[in-house]
Amino acid sequence: MVASAISMPDLIQSAAVQTIALRRVYQSRRESVVALDGIDLSVARGEIFGVLGPNGAGKTTLIKILVTLLLPTSGQAFVDDLDVARDFQELRHRIAMVSGGENSGYGLMKTREHIWMFSQFYGLSSRVARARIDELMERLGLTEAADRYVSALSSGMRQKMNLIRGLVTDPRILFLDEPTVALDVGAARDVRREVRRWVQEDPTRTVILTTHYMNEADELCDRLAIVNHGRIVAQGTPPSLKQQVQQDVIVDLQLTLGRDLLTELRRVDGVTAATVTQQDGADRFSLLLADDGVLTSVLGIVAGSGREVLGLQKRDPSLEDAFVKLVGRGMAEEEAP
């Protein structure tokens, strides 16, 4: 739905999303939690913009403010040049939201009926809606499930159905909140491919995506904001963010299981950041080191711990390394109390 008074170049030049000192505090009787703390953001039209952060970073709160489900406590947010607090009724014609793992609809409806129902809330003609639904279902490989009850869909099929629901009304800006969470590799790839195709089809379309999958952010997003504790800690393209760890030496170290070493390794001079994950009965440490010389100190600590080294390799920086350096911990890692 492009307003006829606005030309395409003008439309492309104005920001799709802009936030100014956006702040949101959740207030309860016992406590107040600052979910967003002064977010300044500008997303250009035609971009796939990722918001990356650990659980509780404020990603979903940001999306909920932008889609008019929540009011900001202070600051301003504009979507498609409309104030989310004041112009929310007009804005709702222009946006759509799809959340990962959402359980919308009614079990006794069939897939095609479910999507049709939501399209009617936007005033779409049934004929146009059915044609778009069939086209999108075919593209996402969901045609066979068109007449299946929603309650009988697998989680991958369900998420594809949700994405089609978001696309069928042809929004200008699509908000995706963890769209591939808990999906298998194939279904997640289909979802990403369709999102990319949808944006490329029309340069005025924009996608705002929250995720905590690094490879998804790296593969799909034109630009990213890394959010932690309600603040943006870094913004840029995936390559520019990786650039931040270009000077570091990145080492993957596999050790046999044993006592906690992470805290000790993080204290070593020259260890910029460190994370650990358990894989196949071993601890896999990712270490960002200031230079090669630091490795000697690291191996000294390992030797003192009695753990055995199963593997050691240097590798190129990834987005995850940049994230760890900026946030101070891995995506899946619980924050220290």
């Binding site: 489900l69 709702r92 006794l108 939501f118 809330f121 005033g123």
Partner: protein
Amino acid sequence: MSRPSALRIFVKTVIARAYPRTVGHARNWSWVVIEIVLPLIGTVAMVYVYRALRAPAEYTGFVVLGGTLLAFWQNIVFDMAGNFIWERGGSNLELFTVAPTTFTAILLGMALGGIFYTAQRAAAVLLVTSLLFQVHYRPAGIAPAVGLLALTLLALYALGMLLASLFLFFGRSAWHALDGMQEPVYFLSGFYFPVHSLGAYVAGAASIIPLTLGLDAIRQVLLPGTPVFLAPAWEAGLIALQIPAYLLSAQWALRMMERLARRDARLSMRWV
């Protein structure tokens, strides 16, 4: 593409939201037991209670009409107003909110979708119990009774929208409050006895629920010997006043509750 008008979105929303309830009934026949057989047993049981107590014969008619209209009250409380809680649990409420439609249209769709089985339940209770207990109605009262029923339902569904605004904001707390109020409402509305028995003050206060007035008026026009609380014409007039009052209040309350819910994050926190 031109923007669809608000009226078009309203009408399409009503039809679309009514659709799952309508097709749901055709796809799952368990509602016949839950919505028809069980309420029928409840009404029959109440008739036998009165008979065992040797109540006057006209009480059978009071119970039958009460049992018939009870279906509509339960429809607005549980299937319309209270349904917002379940819609929030399944994340539908978020999607309704971010769509350019209105809660009024969504609620109307829910009500129309639900009226299909509610009407069948009401008809089943009325027909089966009337035949079983040989209730005699005044033939001249049938047409006015239908008019009174239509008027009562309009007021009742407007009240349902007003109650829905409470569910939008208070969620499960409103559910518990309304659930706890069911028996007092059944009592005060005179579902199983003429509201006249409660005395003028209590019956007057209970008239805030359109069903109290509607049921009393319908009983008066259909059943000879119904004690008069207010003349049916007065009751019809009061119900007619309740319709715009509840509709306007519902519009205002839904808008205000949505604003408060957006402020306090109650549209998306599922179990508040």
